[in-house]
Symmetry: C2
Subunit: 326 residues, 2 copies
């Protein structure tokens, strides 16, 4: 199994290496007969371009990174497969590799090195810690980055997000439409944009809602719901800011003798797998994760091809998925 080089293809086709290269890269100006000869040579020799060599001269790695939080935080996030799928869809046809990096000590530094030494053309940052200095460093260095989700502090960085505020409002309208009279919400962490926006959007729609805080974890959903039915026993509608929390909260309602949705309507957020493994299945706010991921990839590619293009924010509209819980 010997390696076939462009040189060999050229020899077989009876042209120069330059012309063979033109054909491989689809350059315009090659005579049709020569193009044909080269293509025949390529398939007869089984030629595959050596990416390392190409990368060395073009200074493109043809690879992008996906920076994820560590396993633990990720387990709460049901979206990994969808994100990967969306990015892949855009990136694969271009022959670009998707490199996964999970946060650990030094991961982000590693990603920066990979970017700077040309091993990665750009990165998508998921679930970035608001205090993380890396996004700032990256944009300062003019390196292509896209954030999943609005950054906590406004900064000139491209990001893709769902309209969290509107999603929460959707949930609020649903509960009102169900004639709920005593409405509450279990929030996400208030030091994250998603947590903030979902609360704000919900309050805009249901200003007198009872507010209990959670942190997006299932356990916090349990605790918050226990607190809620203690302090507000007549609650009949609750917007839980993540499906995972809702999944924890519903059994608490059941144990307290309340039926879902008859006594208490529950609306979640995310349309994650937890929405389907809940009993009853969750009515929830859906984010088009795969499409959003694809858009992140597109935005990143744009930045790679046009280095100095301005930061953009792309915001997707959420939708309400009505199931059995409310």
């Amino acid at each position: 199994m010997k390696r076939v080089t462009l040189e060999e293809v050229a020899r077989v086709a009876g042209v120069s290496r330059a012309t063979a290269s033109r054909v491989v890269n689809g350059a315009s100006s090659v005579d049709e007969s020569l193009r044909h000869a080269v293509q025949k040579a390529i398939s007869s020799t089984g030629y595959l371009p050596n990416i390392a060599a190409r990368s060395l001269v073009t200074r493109r790695a043809a690879a992008i990174g996906l920076l994820l939080p560590d396993e633990h935080r990720m387990n709460g996030d049901p979206h990994l497969a969808s994100v990967v799928s969306g990015v892949t869809r855009v990136v694969r046809p271009l022959g670009i590799h998707l490199v996964l990096m999970m946060t650990g000590p030094g991961t982000r530094a590693q990603a920066m090195s990979d970017l700077r030494c040309g091993r990665l053309d750009g990165v998508i940052l998921v679930h970035t810690d608001p205090a993380d200095p890396v996004p700032g460093q990256l944009i300062a260095a003019g390196l292509p980055v896209v954030l999943a989700g609005r950054p906590l502090k406004p900064m000139p960085i491209t990001y893709v997000d769902v309209n969290q505020t509107e999603g929460a409002a959707l949930a609020g309208r649903r509960l009102k439409a169900l004639q709920c009279r005593r409405i509450a919400t279990i929030t996400g962490p208030q030091d994250t944009p998603a947590g903030q926006d979902r609360l704000a959007g919900f309050l805009a729609e249901v200003p007198d809602a009872v507010v209990v805080h959670g942190d997006f974890t299932r356990q916090s959903g349990i605790t918050a719901m226990e607190k809620l039915i203690r302090c507000c026993p007549d609650v009949d509608g609750v917007f839980v800011a993540s499906d995972l929390m809702a999944n924890g909260a519903i059994p608490v309602l059941h144990r307290s003798g309340r039926k879902v949705p008859d006594d208490v309507a529950v609306v979640g957020f995310d349309d994650s797998s937890a929405a389907l493994t809940s009993e009853p299945e969750l009515t929830t706010v859906r984010q088009p994760i795969t499409d959003m991921a694809a858009e992140m990839a597109r935005q990143l590619l744009r930045q790679i091809t046009e280095p100095r293009s301005p930061a953009t924010a792309v915001v997707f509209e959420p939708s309400l998925v009505v199931r059995d819980s409310g």
Copy 2:
């Protein structure tokens, strides 16, 4: 922001490029003072080796692929984050990239190309379709591959798996210990090794168990359980061959007026997130996914460094996680 090359480092350190290279790659025989000078030059210039150039001459991409089934099948699998995490743990300290590829039309062919043109040093195959010819082609071509899970047909390929048979036996013993008298199992698909082994292992322990077939999906768990309580109403213990199916099956029991675990004990398999989002939480058979993934990475690396090393099977022992369902 200009690129620093080894040439420049060498100039700053007052040595030749060769010596600088030796220091970068930790070669032994370099005089201590020169080594120091080079190291100082490296940090003062902020040198980062260009992987493409290195890769071109060493013929190593320093990247491995993780081939996954498509999003749809993946959603059923809760393990993606754990697998990535385990592989990353082994691979990152070595500066090796993990490239994710999701199955789609042509993905596997793409992976083969990447392997053959030296863009990937090896691949880990997850959830391979038994009919897929790719694993066979890869080993025939002598390319480094590791399978997640035993192949359906015996073949000379390295794989890492959990002792499925023993795991199912663990579940059987648990149900017997709980004094269940009428025991059943909801199986996985019988055209997969995992589906087969879990049934065989369970039957070895509980030969007179009632068998209802499922296919690992949540919906099939619902259907199977409905069938089970119809044809065998006095069932008081059931081993469901995946947590996701168990998650669907338990509400069926509840709706039929049976309490879990009081009337019917349920034991699942996987210890996936579905085990925790079930109500009550699932007693289940745990696979050490992260460790298994790490082992896959190690096996792959071994194959990469020792191309003709023999195929190995590494089998991990499962454990029973006792929670509330049985």
